[in-house]
Structures are given as C-alpha cells and as structure tokens.
C-alpha cells in the first residue's frame, strides 16, 4: 500500500494492516512523518516533531509484533498531543513563551496510557496560548485550517484538530475547558470528544480551570475516538478527582443503531441568535437523518443555559487569573496581549460577585440532568458559524472589535457542558458554501460516553462527511 493511502485510513484499518504485518510500524510512522514534512510548514499544526524518537518507538512496536505481542488496537498507531500535555523529555510549551524551555520529566497520564497501549507519539501540537482563547501573535506560528488556509482551525486545541483533518496523524489528544476540543473539531471537520469531568486524568495537563477541563481524543471517526478514550480513561492516583467507575469498552456498543433513542434538541442553543441560519439548517438535516434511522427527536428547554457563559466566566476566569498571577507579576510581556488582557480583567472581578454567579452552576447542572432524565442525548450546534478568517496581528483589536467579539462568542454553545461536566462531542454534520465544515454537538449523561459515540457512529455511517478530504 502506498504511503499516500495510509494517511486517511482510520485507526481500525491501520491497526489491522499492522497486525497482519502487511505494513510495518516503521513504514507507517515514516509515511506520516513525510506528510508532516510536506504540509506542516503551511498548516502550523505542530510545535515539535519527534522524528527520531518516533522511529525508535516504531521499531520497538515492530519487534513486539514480530514476537506476537499485540498491546491492543492502538499498537503501532501514530498519535500527537496538544502542547499542554506533559511529555517526558520533550519540550512542552503550553503555546506560550512562558514555558518555551520547559521539559517535563514525566508524561501526562493520558500520554503515558496511549504509549502503554502501543501508540507512537509523533510530536506536540500547536494551540492557543495557555489554552486561554485567541492569541494575537502565536509564539509558535499561526495554525491554519486545512479546508482553507486563510481560516483559523479554531482552538484552543488548534493543531489537534488540524493535524487529524489534514491526515498528519490519525488520532490526537486535545484538552477542553470551554470548548477547546469540540470547537476546532467542528471547524476542521473531525470528531472531538470532551469526556465527563473526572473520566480522564488531568495529571500533567497544563490547564486553567480544574473544575472544567478534560483531556480527550480527536479523530476522523467515532470508532477511533472510542479506542483512544478507552486507552486514556480511568482512575489515576495522581489525580484523585478521577472516577473509580470501570472504563467501558466504548467501541463495543457501536453499530447497535439508534432505534428508540430519544434526542432532545436544546431550544435555547438551537434558536440562539448567534447561530447562523445555515448552521442551524445543517444540524436540523442531521437530526432528520437520525430520525429516519429510528431516533425520536424532540425539543427540550434548559432555561439557565442561556446564561452559561456568565457562569463559566465567574468560575473559570478568576481561576485562570489565580493560576497565572505569578506570571502576570513577573513576566507580563511574555504573555500575548489577548490572554494577558483577559487575565488582567479576570484578576479584578470581585470575588463576592463571582462566587454568587458561580453558585448557579449547580442549578444549571440540575437542569441538564433533568432534561437527560426525559431524553437519552441532548443535541445542539457545536459552533455558531464555520471557521472564521485568520486576522493579521495588526488587525486584531479590542473587545469592541467585531472579530474578537465573534471569537469570544464561539464557545457559547460548548461551555455549558464544561460547567456541568457532562460528556459532549462534536461530529461533522455538513459543509457550508465555502466548503467549510460545521459540527453537531451531542451531549450525554455523566459517564455515558458510549451513548454519544454510538449516535455519532450511526450518523457518520449515514451521512459520510468524514470521507471528504481537505484540498491540500
């Protein structure tokens, strides 16, 4: 099989080729490294590529396969991770000059578990600085959308989505605090999953708000995300807030259909004035397909969800400001102007006001749980629009600037489920006129990731959007 044919095989297909010894792990890694070499200069998806270490790991993987040792479905599969996740001996920048020289002495748990499953790390992926929203002058290059290089891939897990969409890596790990896996997944036409809070260890994740963030997989298919999630999920004594619930075999429920599944479309999100009509149409069309497959679709109302951004702001922003206070004091000029202004603003919000608004998080969570007592899955658009243009540093301005406001508003549809902790994924549900993808967001009950993956899998089998390739 030619190198160019390997790039868009999914994890299951690649794994089968490897286990049948029709292709070696070294050949697979070489093919992906060559594609990164050919394309990443214009995509900006990677900050660090670990070619030598990757090939060494591939040789070890081949040696194990030759001895008959198969670690699992990820054995020999290349992956890459957002540069917010620690990687032993490999620079981990968190997208910032603040950490340009930081080299962890251990892997993040999610990374270690992928390696233990036999996956092969190719490198570290570009991201918005500190995972904290748009960056005016990204220190490690401007990441671009494979569908249109003049557009952003979104963020903050920018490279995690762009790399999968461009066939630079079949699966990646991102991190999501307010939408940072789902939003770029929507913009780049891939599937991205934010697990239930506490399902995946945050040890080694350089985050901004521990109550909201989670590492999670991005891939072309629900099946591939299921495989990656199974590898990384589970209790971790180094993150004692992780759940001790058994980890499901998420891939086992795929293919069981959606007959009788009740899907509740969140009225306040679907009918939000920020959602472009054509995005709404794409989501409606996706729901019609699911209805034809046997799902029952209805509207549900979650009144407080319209104010989730305020609740999110009241909790996440002061935590981020506290987290980075030392750097605001000692190295403010090493923080890009946009996250720096956001951190300064958050530092000045009165704690008593923030705490009162933050107290509404429990009420929002209860309303989402109430809705999920009547339906199995919630649905909404992932993003209000398709990917927006990359703006030059000179053009990015103030909160009164339309672009910044639009960017700040992108997470309106995703951050409610960080506040509540429910699992949520984005699956591609169509393309806008400019050949730009958008996503359908599916939200499940706590620790029921298999439910959203199952519905996404059925939808993908019906719609086939994941078969499209960007014009690179």
């Amino acid at each position: 099989m030619g190198a160019t044919e390997l790039h868009f095989l999914d994890v299951r297909e690649l794994g089968e080729l490897l286990r049948r010894r029709e292709v070696s792990a070294v050949e697979v890694v070489q093919a992906f490294l060559a594609r990164i070499e050919a394309l990443d200069a214009k995509l900006g998806a990677f900050i660090t590529v670990t070619a030598d270490a990757s090939l060494a790991a591939a040789r070890r993987a081949d040696a194990e396969l030759a001895r008959g040792k198969v670690r699992g479905p990820l054995h020999g599969i290349p992956f890459a991770v957002k540069d917010a996740l620690w990687t032993k001996g490999i620079r981990t920048t968190n997208g910032s000059r603040l950490f340009g020289g930081f080299v962890p002495d251990r892997d993040a748990t999610a990374v270690a578990r992928m390696r233990a499953a036999g996956a092969i790390l190719l490198g570290k992926l570009n991201m918005m600085e500190l995972g904290f929203g748009p960056t005016r002058e990204p220190p490690f290059g401007v990441p671009r959308n494979p569908w249109d290089l003049a557009r952003t891939p979104g963020g903050s897990s920018s490279g995690s989505a762009a790399a999968v969409a461009a066939g630079l890596v079949p699966v990646s790990l991102g991190a999501d605090t307010g939408g940072s896996i789902r939003l770029p997944a929507s913009f780049c036409g891939v599937l991205g999953l934010k697990p239930t809070w506490g399902r995946v260890s945050r040890f080694g994740l350089m985050g901004i708000c521990e109550r909201f963030e989670s590492a999670g997989p991005l891939a072309a298919t629900a099946a591939d995300c299921a495989l990656a999630l199974r590898a990384i999920a589970g209790y971790d004594p180094r993150d004692r807030q992780t759940s001790r619930r058994p980890v499901s075999d998420y891939a086992a429920v795929l293919g069981t259909g959606v007959q009788g599944v009740r899907i509740g479309v969140v009225r306040e999100l679907m009918e939000s004035a920020v959602v472009e009509p054509r995005v709404r149409e794409a989501v409606e069309a996706a729901l019609v397909l699911l209805e034809r497959a046997g799902a029952n679709v209805e509207r549900v109302s979650i009144p407080l969800i319209a104010f989730s951004s305020e609740i999110y702001t009241a909790i996440a922003e002061p935590q981020a400001a506290a987290h980075y206070r030392r750097y605001l004091l000692e190295r403010p000029s090493d923080i890009d102007v946009l996250p720096r202004r956001r951190l300064l603003t958050a530092s000045l919000v009165p704690a008593s006001l923030a705490a009162r608004v933050a107290g509404l998080a429990g009420r929002l969570r209860a309303q989402v749980d109430e809705a999920l007592a009547h339906v199995d899955i919630l649905a909404a658009p992932t993003t209000p629009s398709a990917a927006t243009p990359v703006r030059s540093a000179a053009a990015v301005g103030s909160a009164e600037d339309e672009w910044t406001t639009a960017v700040a508003g992108r997470s309106l549809l995703t951050n409610p489920f960080n506040v509540t902790g429910h699992p949520a994924l984005s699956v591609p549900c169509g393309f806008m006129a400019e050949n730009l993808p958008v996503g359908l967001q599916l939200i499940g009950r706590p620790f029921r990731e298999e439910d959203v993956l199952r519905v996404a899998d059925v939808y993908q089998s019906l719609a086939g959007w994941h078969g499209r390739r960007p014009p690179l």
């Binding site: 300064l344 603003t345 530092s347 000045l348 919000v349 009162r356 509404l360 429990g362 909160a399």
Partner: protein, 73 residues
C-alpha cells in the same frame, strides 16, 4: 447599565492587588471589566433573589424559598 469604571479606577484597583496595567492594556481592560461586571451583576440580580437554602439544590435546581423575595413586590 455599565459598571462605569474609569481607566483611572481600574488602574487603582489593579495596583491595590499588586498588578501593573500598561497604558496599552488599560483602555481595553477597562472596557472588558465593565462589560464583565455588567453581565455578572445582571445575572446575579435576575437569578439570586430571595432566601436560599444551605442544602444542595433539589431536582430542578431551584434553591429559593418561594414568596421570600428580597426585592419589593
């Protein structure tokens, strides 16, 4: 209703907690802080009325005891 803080007031607030805001950042931080305070205050006024139970929110989420609004009826 805007919180109406002036850049000078924002600069003083920041100094009170040891932070220095450059002239380049001050105007923008002032705009953002006023907007943030306005939105949080509006939500607080809308949702946090009445006497609240110290117990966890019941199913449905409402914690306020009906008929005990702190606002004039």
């Amino acid at each position: 209703m805007s919180a109406g803080l002036t850049p000078e007031q924002v600069e003083s607030l920041a100094a009170a907690i040891g932070l220095t805001i450059t002239a380049d950042d001050l105007a923008e931080v002032t705009v953002r802080l006023n907007a943030t305070l306005e939105s949080l205050t509006a939500l607080d006024r809308r949702e946090n009325i009445g006497v609240e139970s110290a117990a966890p929110a019941p199913r449905g989420g409402r914690r306020t005891v009906p008929g005990t609004s702190a606002l004039p009826s």
